[in-house]
């Protein structure tokens, strides 16, 4: 059996576009953990993240032929995940009950911030404590690398709202992370 673990992303993406499920599987195992982590931060829910990433990968499989730069397959997958995640966020807007996972993240948030063992833990707590809309804008902007326009479109809101949420998120992050500077 051919060992594809040494193959580059570009080669795997090309093979997958040609219908090689095994190559796609290698890509999934290689980038799945990152995609799931991104989706979890974005949706605030590990359960939603699992569903969102699965939906995104199924969509990716059927769209692989449209991937123009196979070497950038990871950022391409990330953009599909962010689309699926924002679809999910919009769909649940009405029933905005907090997922246990998110509640847990928030619980170990502000109070424990002072004893956070590292700057990353501190940032994690600050981000988890942000209002949902602000956190989504922050993650899409800073991790996803999307423009205000793209974020507004994804969240079905206006650029002004996105700009406002980001500014408030940034004000909070800068203030609360002050001790770590």
């Amino acid at each position: 059996m051919t060992d594809l673990s040494a193959a580059t992303d570009a080669l795997l993406a090309e093979r997958a576009a040609d219908g090689d499920e095994i190559a796609f599987g290698v890509l999934v195992r290689r980038h799945g953990p990152f995609l799931r982590a991104f989706a979890t931060r974005l949706t605030g829910s590990a359960a939603d993240a699992d569903d969102v990433v699965q939906d995104a990968l199924i969509a990716a499989w059927s769209q692989l032929e449209n991937l123009t730069e196979p070497a950038k397959v990871r950022s391409w997958l990330t953009s599909i995940v962010s689309r699926k995640a924002t679809d999910r966020i919009r769909a649940r807007k009405t029933s905005s009950e907090l997922d246990e996972n998110l509640a847990e993240i928030i619980e170990r948030g502000p109070e424990n911030r002072a004893i956070a063992s590292s700057q990353l833990d501190a940032l994690s707590a600050v981000l988890s404590g942000l209002p949902e809309g602000q956190r989504q804008c922050w993650i899409l902007k800073e991790v996803g690398g999307y423009s205000y326009e793209e974020i507004a479109e994804r969240l079905e809101t206006t650029v002004a709202v996105v700009r406002g949420r980001l500014a408030r998120a940034r004000a909070t992050v800068v203030t609360e992370m002050e001790v770590w500077r």
């Binding site: 673990s5 093979r15 799945g32 953990p33 990152f34 982590a37 991104f38 059927s62 800068v174």
Partner: protein, 189 residues
């Protein structure tokens, strides 16, 4: 709190955010010369890159994907076979029309190319109907003689297609597109 001006610049945090997102262009002197603004901008950039680091750390801390989640995913994917177009095969019986899918040919080509030591097949394109021109891209293992590998792939693909299909092959072109190294945990054999 976003209405407050930062330092003596006369700009608010929201305006600073915008400025940062515009790539600090066009340059605004009042911001660039203000120490407090510079420090806020540096912090914003830093927390942006820390956020990316955070997601990468989350991923490293949970490196394994749930097996039942994976099987669910692969079950959906296998349902959608990438067959591509049908390519007619030569037939002795004029009343029978035999075809083979592009997907099946690509599978054969991949297997034939991969069987050459140190070679991984990438993309396979098939052009033409009656006479098929096959183009295969390959990646060779670092240290493998490129010309030898490419010629071996050409031969192997050609032989496999002759043996398993009735296609008339116009040409088999092999493009070496990449060089790969053995993954640390990979099998070196």
């Amino acid at each position: 709190m976003t209405e407050e001006h930062i330092g003596d610049s006369g700009y608010t945090l929201e305006q600073l955010s915008d400025y940062l997102d515009r790539g600090r262009q066009p340059a605004i002197d009042a911001i660039d010369r203000d120490a407090e603004c510079q420090s806020v901008l540096a912090s914003l950039e830093r927390y942006g890159s820390l956020s990316r680091e955070l997601v990468s750390r989350d991923a490293t801390e949970h490196p394994t994907l749930d097996e039942s989640w994976l099987s669910g995913l692969f079950a959906s994917i296998t349902r959608e076979v990438k067959a591509g177009r049908d390519i007619p095969l030569a037939s002795i019986d004029p009343l029978t029309r035999l075809t083979i899918t592009e997907g099946a040919i690509r599978g054969l080509v991949r297997a034939a190319g991969d069987s050459v030591a140190g070679v991984l097949v990438g993309k396979c394109s098939l052009d033409g109907d009656d006479e098929i021109a096959v183009t295969v891209t390959i990646s060779v293992l670092l240290g493998t003689p490129v010309h030898v590998a490419a010629e071996a792939v050409r031969q192997s693909v050609y032989t496999a297609l002759l043996k398993h299909t009735e296609l008339s092959i116009a040409s088999v072109d092999v493009l070496v597109e990449d060089v790969h190294v053995i993954a640390p945990q990979g099998d070196a054999s």
